[in-house]
Every structure is written in C-alpha cells, then in structure tokens.
Amino acid sequence: MTDRITRRGLVKGGTMLAGAAAGFGTFYGPWKHNRAYAQEGKPIKIGLTCDASGMYGASGRDELRGITMCIDEFNANGGVLGRKIEWITADTETNPATASRVAERFITREDCSILIGAIHSGVANAITQVAEKYGTIYLNSNSSAPTEAGENCSRIKFVWDGNGTNFTMSSVKAAVERVGKKWLLLTNDYVWGHETSDATRKLVEEAGGEIIDELLIPQNTRDFTSYLLKIQQISPEVVAPAVGGDDGKILRAQVAELGLDKQAAWVQSQQDWPDVWSAPDSIVGIFGTNWYHKLKLPGVDDFVKRWQARADADAIPVPGNVSYCGYTAMRETLRAIERAGSTNNIAIIKELEQLKIPAADRMQDYDAWMNPDTHHLQQTIYLARRNPNPVDDTDLYEIISASKPEDVIDPEEGKLCKLAPYEQIPTVDG
C-alpha cells in the first residue's frame, strides 16, 4: 500500500498538470466553444432502460442519475453535433419481459437511436434482442455477467462494467499467496454464480491452492445459518462467495454480525456502491470495484462535486461504481458520435470499437480500451475493504490495490463471442 502511494506520488506529480489539462479539454469536447443548438438539427433521443423497482431498483436509479448527469452536461455545452440530447426512461422492473416491451416502445414509438442501462443480465439480453433487430446501439452500463462478453455479445451492444472474472482475477492469485491455500467456495446456484466460482476455482488451482469444498446456495436463500455453521466446521483459510443480489446482502449482514470475517478471509467479486451504502456495517472481507469517489486521481473531486450539486433528497450523497459506469458509458458514446461526425449507427460502432481512454480522463489509474472483438471495455480493477480510518461518513472503502486491465483479462473472453458482420446490421441514423 505505502509502496503504491510513493510510486504513484512521483508519477502523479509529474502528470498531474498535464492530466488535468487533458481531462478538462477532452471533457468539454473536441469543439472549442459553446455552440447554440443548430436550428435545424432535430434532437438526438436516448432511451434509458433502467430498473426503478425489483431487486436492482436502487442501483437502477443510481445509474439513471449518472447517465442523466452526463447528458445534462453535454446539453449545457451545446449538445452533440450541435443537436440537443433528449432522454426518456421507463421502469424495466428488473424483468426481461418488461424490458423487451420498453425497448420496443423506445425504438418504435419514441424514435430512440441509442438505448442505455442494465444491471441484470437477463434484462440486458432481452433488450439486446430487440435492439439488434432494429440496429439500435445498446450500452450495457452495469451488468457484470461474463456471458455479456461471451455468447451473448452483439455488434450493437457495448459492455462498460468489469465482469465477474475480471474481479476474480484481480483478487485470487494474491490471496492464495498472501492469505492461504485452503479455499471454500460459496456459489449462488445460477449462471453468474457458477461462472464466477468456476473462474475462481481455476485461478486458485493454478496458483497452487486447493478448493476444499463448494456449497451451493439456491437463489432467494434468506437464512445462511446452516451454511455459516458448516463453514465454521470446515474451517477454510479463505472463503470465496459468489453470491449476488439480495442473497448476497443478507449473507454479508449475517457474516458481519457474527464476526466470521475475522476467522477466515472473505474474498468477493464486485460490490455495487448502492448496496454497500445501504448496509455499511456489512462490509466483509475484500471485494472488487471499478471506481471509488475518493480515488486521488484527476477529475474525481470535480466529478463528485458536480454530482453533489445536483443530488436530490433520495440520491446517495456521492457517486459510486454504478453511477460512474452509467456516466462514462454515456460520455464515451456521445464523444464517439462527435468524433464520427454522424449519428449513423455503424459509424458510431466503429468509433467505439477503437475506443481508448487515457487514465486521467477516465478517473482510473490505468488507461482503458474497448476490446473490438467482444465490445467489452477493459479497465482498471480495484480491490477494496472496509476503511478502518474513514475521513467522513462516505469514506467506506480502503482501496488496497489497483490492477491493470491487461493483467485481469478474462481468458475465456471472446471464445464464444460471434459478432454479426456490419452488413447485417440495419442502418439507424438518429
């Protein structure tokens, strides 16, 4: 940790000014002056397919705030290509059937040329099926299922969050070396849980560790006592839970209450800021995130201040990974439209496929780039744990490491992904 600070301190000092300037410049766009909306340009319409209820309702609302913040900022600076950006939203209810209908409505009735927003992989897939039919670009801002960059990838879809495997890769090797070799897997019995645990298993075994047991947890489990008793009996050195959604929140609360995270190390995948915020005492072990509001990086403080300036009573006081992903996904796409000089979907897709974002601009430690074969953004992955010395009420994390995107690439990524050729995509010009 102290290592990182000294090293980074040197690098930071030198690039701070340059980075700030570059960040400021690229944020405010390639154009040099505010432009009034072109009189004849019709607005660009964006459909925000965010959950407002159901299991991911809280995260969906957070994501919405990030996305709309970005849109408002662009509009305050003349929009994109001189055109105003309009957005609409409807509750996708964390439900794929609802999401299909919302996507159809946004595309066929509301003439949206871009859709953005997702947390649940089923919802993201339902929207992708619809968007693909029409050629509408879809930005999967927050679903971290590995299948999004695998068999469920699509030429019109771009994935902006790190997936379960990326997070696992950043944590497992180090944990085997520094903490212990005897691991226990807790696997939520659905696709995401199994994929994450399978990745963990492979990495543990490669690093010389051993999986001494794997307990399967059905979805909607509310009571973890039996599992916790079993874990105590088995006595592993490391517990790696791949438990998400409500089940994960309840598990962490029950573990924290018993102080079980002191007996064994708990090494988890990504945790979403809205979930952590609602239960700060349930922060257990180490976990992943792709961003934190107290990172000492250019642009972060300003971003947080802008968020706070517009936060309403229900909003979380500071942005987190979910709103960050929403914001940056929207931002990069709008910039891509500017660079492409057109709202033709193929042109935008080609721009996004070549996307490279410098670290300072990205508010992360390392440069990020889009994998053109899977449409999955490769970015810095952080590991964090509960902050023993918070500076204020929002300082819940202590960031303990930052991994370069190239070190945590999912080895399975792209093996099952087949992107349709450009010619097969219907043309959309928003």
Binding site: A52, S53, G54, M55, G57, A58, R61, D189, L215, L216, I217, P218, N220, T221, R222, D223, T225, S226, Y227, L229, K230, Q232, Q233, D246, K249, I250, A253, Q254, E257, L258, G259, L260, Q263, P274, D275, S278, A279, D281, S282, D314
Partner: protein, 306 residues
C-alpha cells in the same frame, strides 16, 4: 453424528421463526376461514414502521422526532415491538372492513381482495421509503454472537426464536384458554348460533383480523434484523406462511406449529447436506404430504375447500 447437533439446533430455531411468521396467517385462516394474502405486505410494513421508530429521527413537529431518537435503543426496541403491530393492526381493521363486503360470496373474492391489498401496500411502502434496503438497529444486548459447542452463533436468532415461542404461547392461550377464543372458534363453526347467543360477531371478527395482522407485523419486526428490510420482503413471508398452513392443515393451530418446525428442520438440514435443494425441499415436502394426507397433517374439513 456430533456434527449433526448444531444443524438440529439451527433447524429448531428456524422452525420457531417460521411458525411465528405463519402464526398471524394461521389465526385468520383457521378462525375466520379467510386467506389473507396481504399477510406478507403487513409483515413488511411492520418492519418498516419499526425502522421508522428505531432509525433516523422522524420529521415530526416540535422536535418530537429528535426527542424520541435520543431515548435508549433498548427501550425504543421494546416499544417498537408493541407499537408497530398496533399501527399495522389499524390497517388490518381497515382491510377487514373491505373484506366484509365479500363474506357472503365466493371465498375467492376475499383472497383476491387481500391480493390487491398486498400490492397496494407494497407500492405505498415503495413510495414512502423508496426501493433501497434498510438495516434495523438492534440493542447491543441481543446483537452479535456467542460461542457454544466451539462455534459462533447469532445471539439475536435465539432471542428471536424465544420471542417466537412467547408469541406462539400467547396465541394459544388466547384461543384455547379465554372466553374470547372460545367464542371465536364457535363463530367459525356456527355463526348463527353464536349471534343468537347475543355475541356481536362482527366486532369479534374485527378483533381476530386485527390480532392476526398484528402478529404478522410483530413477525416482521422480529425477522427484520435477520432478513434485512426491502419492499418485496413480504413475499419471503407469505409463501412459507401459506405453505405451512396447507402442510399443517387448515384450521389447526398445532398443525401450523408442527408444520413450521418441520419446514425449519427440512430447510436447515438440507442446507447442510444437500444445499442446492434447500429451498425446493419445502415444496417437495408439501407435495408429498398433501398427496398422501389430502388435508395436510391435521387439517379439518373447512369451507375453504368448497
């Protein structure tokens, strides 16, 4: 074999908790022969009201909210355990007034009315408190863990199981050992006779429904620290409650208690030895039992079957 004991103990505590959750539902079904699908939402509402009482200060006039928040947590917790059910009980009375219109008709209507009420309550909760999760603060005395048999156990769970036991006992006493209980049971059997004897059956029905909903809310307050508070938490209560009633047999108090214990045991033990089937096991249990004993374990013939 020794390894089994912690799981048996856990199954027992889990069973008591399930029996508590099913208790209010059982009372209304068994005594009034009405299925209250709003049970889950009332359970959730109880937890939310408790959170309002135990969480951040309420925006009440004259600083009442701040004054209340200054009181010791233990005191507030005990009061919440009493006050939250009372508030929810008032809502229960309101629902009963609505159910009144459906008494003479198809029991299906009563069921559907409570289903509608459940949805409305859940959406009202979402409008007031939002979609996020909340944690219910609990007094230190009953939080944390203790060590027994070389394992760490949750103090609160045992408190909750004890509280469940107390509520079950009180309910039993009410039904079996008071005049009130006797009249209610008689009313379920033969309402005309009871009315002929001069009892105001309508008032009694209100009382039973109120008590049933109060028990649902009490269960919500007690389960909140274990399950967390979120708008759709009611579903986690109403499904097991329904299952336990059918398994134990409609109209049977002991059926509900024993069925609750069975469900707790089955889930607790399968979680330890065949974890992936732990939740499915209670449905399999139900299907098996009802296939061989059509009315559940101790069920009596009831109008709900017609």
């Amino acid at each position: 074999m020794f390894n089994l004991i912690p799981f048996l103990i856990n199954g027992l505590t889990l069973g008591l908790l399930f029996a508590l959750i099913a208790l209010g539902f059982m009372l209304i079904v068994g005594v009034m022969e009405q299925i209250n699908l709003a049970h889950g939402s009332l359970f959730a509402l109880g937890a939310y009201v408790a959170y309002a009482l135990l969480g951040p200060p309420l925006p009440l006039p004259a600083g009442v909210g701040e004054w209340w928040a200054e009181l010791p947590l233990g005191l507030r917790y005990v009061l919440a355990l009493v006050v939250a059910p009372c508030i929810v009980g008032l809502l229960g009375i309101l629902i009963e007034q609505g159910m009144r219109r459906t008494y003479g008709k198809d029991p299906l209507f009563g069921l559907l009315l409570t289903f509608g009420a459940a949805m409305v309550i859940e959406d009202v909760i979402r409008s007031i408190w939002g979609t996020r999760d909340y944690i219910l603060p609990t007094p230190d005395a009953i939080s944390g863990g203790f060590i027994a048999l070389n394992l760490i156990w949750s103090t609160y769970r045992f408190f909750a199981a004890f509280a469940a036991f107390v509520f079950i006992l009180l309910t039993w006493l009410l039904i079996e050992r008071t005049r009130f209980g006797a009249v209610i049971k008689a009313g379920a059997h033969d309402s005309e006779m009871v009315r002929a004897l001069g009892y105001d059956l309508a008032k009694l029905r209100i009382a039973v429904f109120a008590i049933g909903t109060m028990l649902a809310a009490a269960a919500g307050v007690i389960m909140a620290p274990i399950w967390g508070i979120r708008p759709h938490m009611g579903v986690d209560a109403v499904i097991p409650a329904f299952l336990i009633i059918v398994l134990g047999g409609v109209g049977s108090f002991w059926g509900a208690v024993i069925a609750g214990l069975m469900v707790g045991m089955v889930i607790g033990l399968t979680a330890a030895y065949a974890s992936e089937w732990s939740l499915l096991s209670m449905y399999i249990l139900l299907i098996v039992v009802v296939t061989f004993r059509a009315r559940g374990l101790f069920g009596k013939k009831s109008i709900l079957e017609a």
